[in-house]
């Protein structure tokens, strides 16, 4: 019998989830004895909480989110990784007034609701000699590119490098990008898989990660065919933006979902403490589980 | 119609009716004999309706001891029910399906007797004012209660219909305790076993006037005409509200 698994995505289905969607469509999960149900929420903050509450087995989340939630006492552990580098970036319009980070002084920056964008931005600005007080922060929710293109803001933090630039391009605009990890923010895992600490099923998790690894390898080898499978899995997925983002996203997917770099977590936890997002770095063993 | 076991007398002891500062009556003591029809007369605004509502237990702080049927100055027909259902409203509201079914033939007969036999299925808004008043009368009579309070029940009826319905009411209400407010002295003389005139502010109630003979009386009777003069004089004697 197949092991039933309920996996919450971090947001609506998009090419970041390529390995998961294609694994399901091609029967890779089934091959590994898993019957995986993928559920896409509208609110990126809900999935880890629902996993902690036992409403799903796994959730796709972000490293900073995990560390903040664990610091708040949620019983979550990281079991794997989907994208082992930051995607987040600060973007401005190329033909806009902002050429360097220092040019943001006195300007408006939009951010979405991820909760830690503000901290990333603060670190980036400080690397250019500014502070958060030098800019006006505006929560533009998910309409990052719209806010940017309509010049309501001069820059947006929280833009994913594989999406927002393409989005600008599709709208005949060009973006100027600052990568977070190159501008004062320690590097981190953008997309990870989390589970509930008390109820984690190690054997099943290994099967899941193995299936994801297999799917990722196949994706990278057959990008065009994989796009066909992905874009047909839901009518709303077959868009120009997804198609453009697809080629930028595939190389970013982690070849080895079981990889774990503890130092990266410790460094980033220290960063979060420094930025005041958490009071104390949680002990790494409580929320990191090596699945190798 | 139905055999009425006992129609109680109604007594008022030291009653006080007031709306804010306006004292309608103070320390009123009064007895309405059981099984008889008492007609209340009085100038407009003297307090007849208030007294009737007091007796019906409808004023704040009042209660009533026995079942009554009450016909207000407005018809109070429910616009979403047809006439038959309006007449049977009491049975509906008491939730006694058996009694309601049993009362239905009487309701039909009553509606026919007040001249609305052809309009059983009409909604109230399709009727003239007098028709609505007749339907309200049928509803009151259909209630079949030992005590019946009626506030100007014939005010919107033409002279002929009025006489007919006075007869009908007198016949159907025979043996019950009826208190009927009217502005028509002749009407009071025709169907009242006793008449009482309210006067003054706060009002007091004059002595009972008891015309001779059984009800309904012949309005052409000269004795009645004499009493009518006396009544009008009594009404006129009080300042009333017209200066």
């Amino acid at each position: 019998a197949q092991d039933k698994v309920r996996l919450l995505l971090d947001w609506f289905v998009n090419p970041d989830h390529a390995a998961l969607v294609v694994a399901k469509q091609r029967g890779v999960f089934a091959k590994h004895g898993l019957d995986v149900e993928l559920i896409a929420p509208a609110d990126p903050n809900a999935p880890p909480k629902l996993v902690a509450a036992g409403q799903a087995d796994y959730a796709v989340s972000y490293q900073p989110t995990l560390q903040m939630l664990v610091a708040e006492g949620l019983p979550l552990v990281r079991v794997g990784v989907l994208v082992a580098q930051p995607l987040n970036s600060l973007v401005a319009l190329e033909d806009g007034p902002v050429k360097t980070l220092a040019d943001f002084k006195g300007r408006k920056i939009g951010y979405s609701i991820a909760g830690f964008d503000e901290a990333l931005l603060g670190a980036m600005l400080e690397s250019a000699g500014l502070t958060l007080k030098d800019v006006t922060l505006i929560n533009v929710n998910f309409a990052l590119t719209t806010a940017l293109m309509s010049k309501q803001v001069d820059g947006v933090i929280g833009a994913f490098r594989n999406f927002e630039l393409n989005d600008l391009e599709l709208n005949k605009a060009k973006g100027r990008i600052w990568l977070v990890e190159k501008n004062g923010v320690p590097t981190y895992d953008e997309l990870i898989l989390v589970a509930k600490r008390e109820t984690i099923d190690v054997a099943r998790t290994r099967k899941l990660l193995a299936a994801i690894a297999e799917s990722t390898a196949w994706l990278k080898a057959n990008p065009a065919e994989a796009w066909g499978i992905f874009s047909k899995s839901g009518k709303e997925l077959d868009s120009d933006l997804n198609k453009l983002a697809w080629k930028d996203t595939l190389p970013l997917l982690a070849d080895n979902p079981t990889a774990l770099d503890r130092a990266r977590y410790e460094t980033f936890a220290a960063f979060l403490v420094k930025r005041g997002l958490i009071k104390q770095a949680p002990a790494p063993d409580t929320y990191l589980r090596d699945m190798k | 119609m139905t055999f009425v076991v006992a129609s109680p007398s109604l007594s008022v002891r030291g009653a006080r009716i007031a709306f804010g500062d306006r004292v309608v009556t103070a320390d009123l003591t009064l007895e309405f004999p059981g099984g008889r029809t008492t007609c209340l007369l009085g100038r407009s605004g003297v307090g007849k309706t208030s007294l009737l509502r007091w007796l019906a237990g409808l004023l704040p702080g009042t209660e009533r001891a026995q079942p009554i049927a009450y016909m207000a100055q407005r018809d109070l027909l429910l616009p979403w029910l047809d006439l038959l259902d309006n007449v049977l409203l009491g049975y509906r509201l008491r939730g006694d399906a058996l009694a309601r079914r049993a009362a239905e033939p009487r309701a039909r007969r009553l509606l026919a007797e007040v001249g609305l036999g052809q309009r059983l299925g009409d909604r109230p808004e399709m009727l003239s004012a007098g028709m609505r008043q007749r339907a309200a009368l049928a509803r009151t009579l259909c209630e079949d209660r030992p005590v019946v309070l009626m506030d100007e029940p014939f005010a919107h009826l033409d002279a002929v219909t009025r006489l007919e319905l006075q007869d009908l009411a007198a016949r159907l209400l025979d043996g019950r305790t009826v208190i009927l407010v009217t502005h028509d002295p002749l009407e009071a003389l025709r169907i009242g076993h006793q008449l009482r005139v309210l006067s003054g502010a706060p009002f007091s109630v004059g002595p009972a006037i008891e015309p001779p003979g059984p009800v309904p009386r012949d309005p052409a009777d000269p004795a009645l005409l004499g009493l009518q003069g006396r009544l009008i004089a009594e009404l006129r004697s009080t300042p009333g509200s017209t200066p």
Partner: protein, 245 residues
């Protein structure tokens, strides 16, 4: 006929707005652009539209039933009213983002949690107007009922409730008008499908014309539901002539 003219009029107004204000396409695409998307992505839009329509109608049905029941309970019992009315008012202040995980926890990822959320938005105008209506019964009728030794629940159901039907109709109209947004809010809870989902996703991904095609469908659904409700509501009170139209 009339709805058609109105729809065309609205489209013209929209096109005019888009032109007159010179709003960029990625903020307010003109209907001509939206029409193209509407045709190209018809399948997708229909698929999501059916979801939303189902949520709307279930939410409205549930909201009407729940609202009417609560209003009647409030009118019948001062005790219930004292404790539950503030809860009902407070329920209107709770943003979906705070309550969504709870709903998923209790009702799962299926349609139930979405419909519950939609009903939460929809039921309030019904409770409020119907309860107001129940409080405003002609006192003459209540007096009459009292002299008839009416049972309290009969007074409520046979007099106060029919007399409050115009108020209920008023509430039902509001409920129908907010049903689309109720459904969209409901789509924030749990798994994703429906026009609201499509809209959020396409807006976040710069596909504004697709988002507005979804919005257009949503508005059509809303108008249709409103007019259907209005029709039924007018039938509810045949004894009352209304002056408007």
């Amino acid at each position: 006929m009339r709805p058609l003219i109105t729809a065309i009029g609205l489209l013209l107004a929209w096109e005019a707005l888009a032109w007159a204000t010179g709003v960029p396409v990625y903020i307010l695409p003109p209907p001509s652009r939206v029409a193209v998307v509407l045709v190209e992505r018809f399948d997708l839009l229909m698929e999501q539209g059916v979801w939303t329509a189902a949520e709307m109608m279930l939410g409205l049905a549930l909201g009407l039933i729940l609202g009417a029941t609560l209003a009647v309970v409030f009118a019948a019992s001062a005790g219930w009213r004292r404790w539950a009315l503030p809860l009902v008012i407070v329920s209107q202040a709770i943003p979906v983002i705070a309550i969504a995980p709870l709903l998923v926890l209790w009702l799962g990822y299926g349609m139930a949690s979405k419909v519950a959320m939609a009903a939460l938005v929809i039921f309030f105008p019904v409770v409020s107007t119907l309860y107001d209506g129940l409080r405003r019964t002609d006192p003459g009728w209540l007096d009459l009922a009292q002299t008839m030794d009416a049972r309290p629940h009969a007074v409520l159901l046979q007099i106060r409730l029919p007399a409050a039907l115009p108020a209920f109709a008023s509430g039902a109209r509001i409920a129908a008008a907010v049903a689309p947004i109720g459904a969209v809010i409901g789509e924030w809870v749990g798994a994703s499908a429906g026009l609201g989902y499509l809209m959020t996703q396409s807006l976040a991904r710069g596909q504004t014309p697709l988002a507005f095609a979804a919005l257009f469908l949503l508005c059509l659904l809303g108008l249709a539901l409103y007019h259907a409700t209005d029709r039924v509501a007018r039938r509810l009170v045949p004894w009352q002539s209304s002056q408007g139209e």
